[in-house]
């Protein structure tokens, strides 16, 4: 975000210093609806960035604007310091892997991969060499002469990737490329694709609505909502230090309690909730309505030392076995709102619904969001 602020002051020098890909205050409206609203983001050379958000948040529109398939109403798109806002898609050297793959059905696998090289008038011999190389990267060499319609979804996905990377794009855009695959294949492809793009050092922007996919694959994640970026940070920060309630709720699970601040001292606020007094890092004026939130794995059973921990007495309502861990649900401050605690292994004799148990979590792990 500070990068965008810098760009606003010194557009020329800032864009060169800021990053490989620079989106500066891009806006787009369709009819009466604002899809993108002064959105800015900077991506570094070789970085893998995910645009994560619910459907309709504008992430695909942003991707199409970066690719040059759609013109923004305002703002600029530049890559490697060059303003591409008014440059046609076919002159941008930006590769796109489409959700539907968009392979050319009348061409073979090799012809699909060769398409971009032929458009760039690469010699016949070099085209053949690079096609073989690209197909080897995605382990599809033995299928080179097959028609693309006879390939499975995972194979088509690989060809779509090979077709896009063979031309060495300055930037690769991926529009939910894994969403059509079944879960197991998707998980394999996440790792495979990540490794491939990292090895090749291709700067990539990956659009997804799947938070797990974003967490697994990305160097940084931009969480989008209603045409703006709510937070742009590493996966750890997005999960551990969400900047807004939206980010908190969209990424991962959490326990949320409504409350009102009563006192603040030394960077710690006290919040009065229906389940008692809770302390959290932060500075709010007393009387502020807030939501406090805690991630499930930050919670544990049993009392902790008062100096570092929040301790809350709660009634166990349900135990959910999740395989590698167990989730305990406690009655929260309102019906339907439960406190979620995740433990690796359930302590013997503690899992009776109806039992009143002390739940603890570190003050430092408590997140506070003011209610606007």
């Amino acid at each position: 975000m500070s990068v965008a602020a810098a760009a606003r002051i010194e557009p020329q020098t800032a864009s060169r210093a800021a990053g490989h890909v620079e989106i500066d205050r891009v806006s787009k409206r369709f009819g009466g609806a604002t899809v993108l609203s002064e959105l800015s983001i900077a991506v570094s050379q070789g970085e893998f960035v995910s645009l994560l958000g619910p459907s309709g948040c504008g992430k695909t529109t942003l991707l199409r604007i970066i690719a040059g398939l759609l013109a923004p109403d305002a703002g600029t798109v530049s890559i490697a310091g060059r303003d591409l806002t008014r440059v046609a898609a076919h002159k941008r050297n930006v590769g796109v892997v489409f959700q539907s793959y968009a392979l050319f059905p009348h061409l073979t696998v090799a012809e699909n991969v060769a398409f971009g090289l032929q458009a760039r008038r690469v010699s016949r011999a070099e085209t053949a060499r690079r096609v073989t190389e690209a197909l080897a990267l995605v382990r599809m060499n033995e299928h080179a002469s097959r028609g693309v319609a006879s390939l499975s979804g995972g194979q088509q996905q690989r060809i779509a990737v090979a077709r896009s990377i063979v031309v060495k794009p300055a930037l690769l855009l991926l529009d939910e490329p894994l969403s059509a695959l079944d879960r197991k294949l998707r998980e394999t492809m996440q790792i495979e694709l990540r490794r491939l793009l990292r090895d090749l050092g291709i700067t990539s922007i990956f659009v997804t609505h799947d938070q797990d996919e974003a967490l697994v694959m990305s160097d940084r994640i931009a969480v989008m909502n209603e045409g703006v970026i709510e937070q742009f940070a590493t996966a750890g920060e997005i999960y551990g230090r969400p900047k807004s309630l939206f980010v908190l709720e969209f990424v991962g699970q959490s326990t949320r309690l409504h409350g009102r601040t009563t006192a603040a001292n030394g960077g710690v606020v006290e919040v009065e909730t229906a389940l008692g007094r809770v302390r959290a890092p932060g500075a709010f004026r007393p009387g502020t309505s807030v939501v406090i939130a805690v991630r499930p794995e930050a919670m544990a059973l049993g009392e902790g030392p008062e100096s570092d921990y929040n301790n809350v007495r709660a009634v166990l309502s349900d135990v959910v076995y999740l395989g590698s861990r167990t989730q305990l649900l406690f009655q929260g401050d309102t019906p339907g709102n439960s406190i979620q605690v995740e433990v690796p292994r359930l302590p013997a004799g503690s899992g009776h619904p109806g039992a009143e148990v002390t739940v603890r979590w570190r003050i430092d792990d408590t997140l506070v969001f003011p209610i606007p």
Binding site: A67, G68, L69, A88, A89, H90, K91, R92, N93, V94, G95, V96, F98, S100, A102, L103, F104, P105, H106, L107, T108, E111, F115, G116, A119, R120, G147, A149, R163, S164, V167
Partner: protein, 293 residues
């Protein structure tokens, strides 16, 4: 509807479904097949027989007569040339129109649809008379040409080959647009996006992606227009008459005026053979266009 019917059959007859699935459908085609046999194949067979038999038995005299006479050879050639020109012009005009129709949305698409297909509801005779009124010496086309200074005085437009081609394109254009439209509508617009993102400009994208993928529609539209163009009767008769004889006109004249049934039947059989060649060639071409799949 087929899917619904299919699943209904499977649900009702889980065991025998496979055995019954094909036969009822084949039976459903029976009335149509019978009708076709009676009103189409039978007369056609009789016609063919008439071109090959006379009072003395089997003979190829009819064909020898037609193919040895430069007049009739020219008629066949002129008919083919006319159909080719009409097909080519209809393709050049119809292809972009089909694209516009397939990519248009909402009310625009409804209006474009009406523009293309309403003319089909008007009788071909009415349309041709309309064209004659437009093309005649005092017609609007001549008025425009004179007013805009392209010509000094009204020129002859009716009874020229040009007016015939224009008239036939006008009548047959929807038959070119419809099959191409059907193919373009199935074409994923993302393919053109993908081509652009791979560095292909609009021209390369058209030649390498759009054109090959819409070829089945082009082949279908062209073979329909060519077939009905070769066989056209009303439009040539009204717009040009005796000045440009087509096979259909010769045929009609042979049957109606000359009472020369052998000549008429021979012309009809030659026309049929041309049509058959087109049908087989086009299905071969269409398969070739899809061969890469």
């Amino acid at each position: 509807m087929t899917i619904l019917a299919d699943s209904a059959v499977h649900a009702a007859l889980p065991v025998t479904a496979d055995r019954w699935r094909v036969e009822p459908r084949a039976l459903m085609a029976l009335p149509a097949l019978t009708a076709m046999a009676l009103i189409f194949l039978l007369p056609l067979g009789l016609l063919l027989a008439q071109s090959l038999w006379d009072a003395n038995g089997f003979t190829l005299a009819g064909y020898a007569r037609v193919l040895a006479d430069p007049y009739y050879v020219k008629v066949i050639w002129d008919s083919l040339k006319l159909a080719f020109n009409v097909t080519l012009i209809a393709l050049i005009i119809g292809y972009p129109a089909a694209f516009a129709l397939a990519r248009a949305r909402g009310r625009t698409q409804v209006i474009l649809f009406a523009l293309v297909f309403l003319p089909l509801t008007v009788s071909i005779i009415v349309k041709t008379f309309g064209l004659m009124i437009m093309f005649r010496r005092e017609g609007i086309v001549n008025w425009l040409l004179v007013t805009m200074g392209f010509v000094d005085r009204p020129i002859r437009l009716v009874f020229t080959e040009l007016s015939l081609v224009v008239g036939m394109v006008n009548v047959f254009l929807p038959f070119m647009i419809l099959p191409i439209f059907a193919v373009i509508r199935m074409l994923d617009p993302r393919l053109a996006d993908a081509a652009a993102c791979l560095g292909a400009g609009p021209i390369r994208t058209f030649w390498r992606v759009t054109l090959p993928l819409t070829m089945p529609g082009i082949v279908a539209g062209a073979s329909i227009v060519f077939s009905i163009g070769v066989a056209a009767y009303v439009t040539p008769t009204l717009l040009i008459g005796e000045r440009y004889m087509t096979m259909s006109q010769v045929m009609a004249k042979a049957f109606l005026n000359l009472r020369d049934f052998q000549l008429g039947a021979t012309m009809a059989s030659i026309m049929l053979m041309i049509a058959l060649v087109i049908v087989f060639a086009s299905s071969f071409l269409a398969r070739g266009a899809k061969g890469g799949r």
